[in-house]
């Protein structure tokens, strides 16, 4: 079947899609966006997290046909050109990346969290990231990165009170 949808703002068409393919597979193998990672394939690990119509979901559990005419946002869409999103920059600066396999999902999920909660508590961060597993167990640095990104975004809001952020 043919699936037509929007990816990171661009109209996208995938041909010869088998009905049993997941959105994750379509993104990685047919659209050329391998940022979202394929790990558990059952919604447990969050490495495949993408935006679907504005909400983060596990793309491994979305059947290809379900995304027809919908909007998908992937980790590749977070940066503006060569400028990393504040969440991405914070993960770099905090050393929150070990093997990196869980990182794309964590970036998307954190991006969503910080769009909705400007000053999340540690407990809120942990709950928001409860569906993202890091098998390197690098959670302390990940927490540092989320706190850093939240603080930087808050500073940016203070510097630009017109509300360009979030």
């Amino acid at each position: 079947m043919k699936v037509t949808f929007t990816v990171n703002g661009r109209p996208t068409e995938a041909d010869d899609v088998w009905e049993g393919e997941s959105l994750l597979y379509v993104l990685r193998e047919r659209v050329g966006l391998p940022g979202s990672k394929n790990a558990c394939e059952q919604g447990e690990c969050g490495s495949c997290t993408v935006y679907l119509d504005g909400d983060p979901v596990c793309s491994c559990l979305v059947a290809a046909g379900q995304v027809q005419d919908r909007e998908v946002g992937t980790v590749e869409g977070l940066a503006q050109g060569d400028t990393l999103d504040p969440v991405q920059q914070a993960f770099v600066d905090a050393g929150a990346v070990q093997c990196g396999f869980c990182t794309p999902g964590l970036l998307v999920q954190t991006h969503d969290l910080l769009n909705r909660a400007h000053h999340p508590s540690d407990a809120e961060i942990r709950e928001a990231l409860s569906g993202n597993l890091c098998r390197c167990t690098g959670y302390e640095k990940i927490m540092d990165a989320v706190r850093l990104a939240a603080a930087r975004k808050a500073d940016a809001r203070d510097a630009a009170p017109t509300g360009l952020e979030g």
């Binding site: 009905e19 909400d55 909705r116």
Partner: protein, 367 residues
């Protein structure tokens, strides 16, 4: 995964006309796509009902009823201001389930239809009466420390996995259904079927029928309600034991009580004996402990899951104690396990349940 055809109904009023004998409905897909990948579900056709106009949350002021469309995502329902204020047990139960990503996809109807997480059900190499009728039950003599102690039969001891359904049971919700034989509605208590001799049959739905909505009465009881879930880690795990509780206390006497259990029974489980143990008496620590005892009535533990009987006692008593400590209907922090004293968060933010601690770890409110 078996090959299948995929279709989205053009006629929203009658999606069953698109169905064949070998077909299944798909909505959010969080459970079905997973089961298709592991081979437990193998439909020849998927009918995508995800875009039917069944995603509204409406308040019927005349009857004080909340009507929730079957396609409302769990995250939206949990964040709905009316749910948070007047049905806190529902919001708490939703936020205690799954992860944010899954709650964004998963729907109300799909949650009520989700299949058990019994490992033998998901393992095609093992016998399972629920997956293949009359093939046997590997859990009876196998690894069953997480399995049910209530509502079991000699053919199945798998737990029902839903948190949401436990809250809806305590709220005496009604399930609206439509299908080839016309619309009908029934109490959620009747909707889920105990395994008995036919564990493969889990609900009253017949082929072609689908849930269209759930109606929840918004009562005084519902406004003073609470959900406690105990699991093996602090978040994103199925319940070892959970309790949805609601109390109506006037002049120091319990006038009405609702208690439903999750994670310990083959269906969402109403603990009537525990409710009866409270009615007419004071909301005291002793009464809550007696309710906890009564909630275990009929429990049949196996070799390795006797701890669930004690868990039921403690979770029920602690849920009631926590609820009783909130004098007025809880209107904020629906995801925390402490009495509602915090600052309301903006809807939809991932909140912070402290749901993993052992029930006996708080000071001696019971036993």
């Amino acid at each position: 995964m078996r090959s299948f055809t995929y279709t989205r109904p053009a006629e929203p009023a009658q999606p069953w006309t698109e169905l064949g004998p070998d077909a299944m409905y798909i909505a959010g897909g969080t459970n079905l796509v997973d089961l298709m990948k592991c081979g437990v579900a193998a439909p020849g056709r998927l009918v995508d009902i995800g875009r039917l106009p069944l995603a509204d949350i409406e308040v019927d002021a005349a009857t004080d009823t909340l009507r929730i469309g079957a396609l409302v995502p769990n995250s939206d329902l949990a964040a709905h201001p009316v749910v948070r204020e007047r049905l806190p047990v529902l919001s708490r139960a939703l936020l205690a389930g799954a992860s944010p990503q899954l709650r964004n996809l998963a729907t109300l109807g799909g949650n009520l239809m989700q299949r058990t997480r019994c490992g033998y059900f998901r393992d095609l190499a093992m016998p399972c009466n629920k997956r293949v009728p009359d093939s046997g039950c590997a859990a009876l003599d196998g690894e069953h420390r997480g399995h049910a102690v209530l509502g079991t039969s000699s053919r199945c001891i798998a737990t029902h996995p839903s948190d949401l359904a436990v809250a809806l049971l305590a709220l005496e919700a009604r399930v609206s259904i439509d299908g080839p034989n016309g619309p009908r509605a029934e109490p959620i208590e009747a909707f889920h079927l105990p395994p008995g001799e036919t564990p493969e049959r889990e609900t009253t739905l017949t082929h072609g029928e689908l849930i269209t909505a759930v109606e929840v009465p918004m009562t005084t009881l519902g406004a003073h309600s609470y959900y406690l879930k105990v699991r093996e880690r602090a978040s994103f795990a199925f319940a070892m034991c959970s309790a949805a509780v609601a109390l109506e206390v006037r002049e120091g006497t319990v006038r009405a009580a609702r208690i439903a259990l999750g994670g310990v029974a083959t269906t969402p489980w109403r603990a009537y004996a525990a409710e009866a143990a409270l009615i007419g008496g004071p909301p005291s620590t002793g009464a809550f402990a007696r309710a906890g005892d009564a909630a275990t009535e009929g429990a049949v533990p196996g070799r390795d899951n006797g701890h669930k009987v004690e868990l039921i006692r403690r979770v029920v008593a602690r849920a009631l104690s926590t609820l009783a400590a909130t004098d007025t209907p809880a209107t904020d922090t629906p995801a925390t396990d402490t009495p509602a004293t915090g600052t309301p968060k903006s809807p939809g933010t991932g909140e912070a349940p402290r749901t993993g601690e052992a029930p006996g770890s708080t000071e001696g409110e019971h036993r």
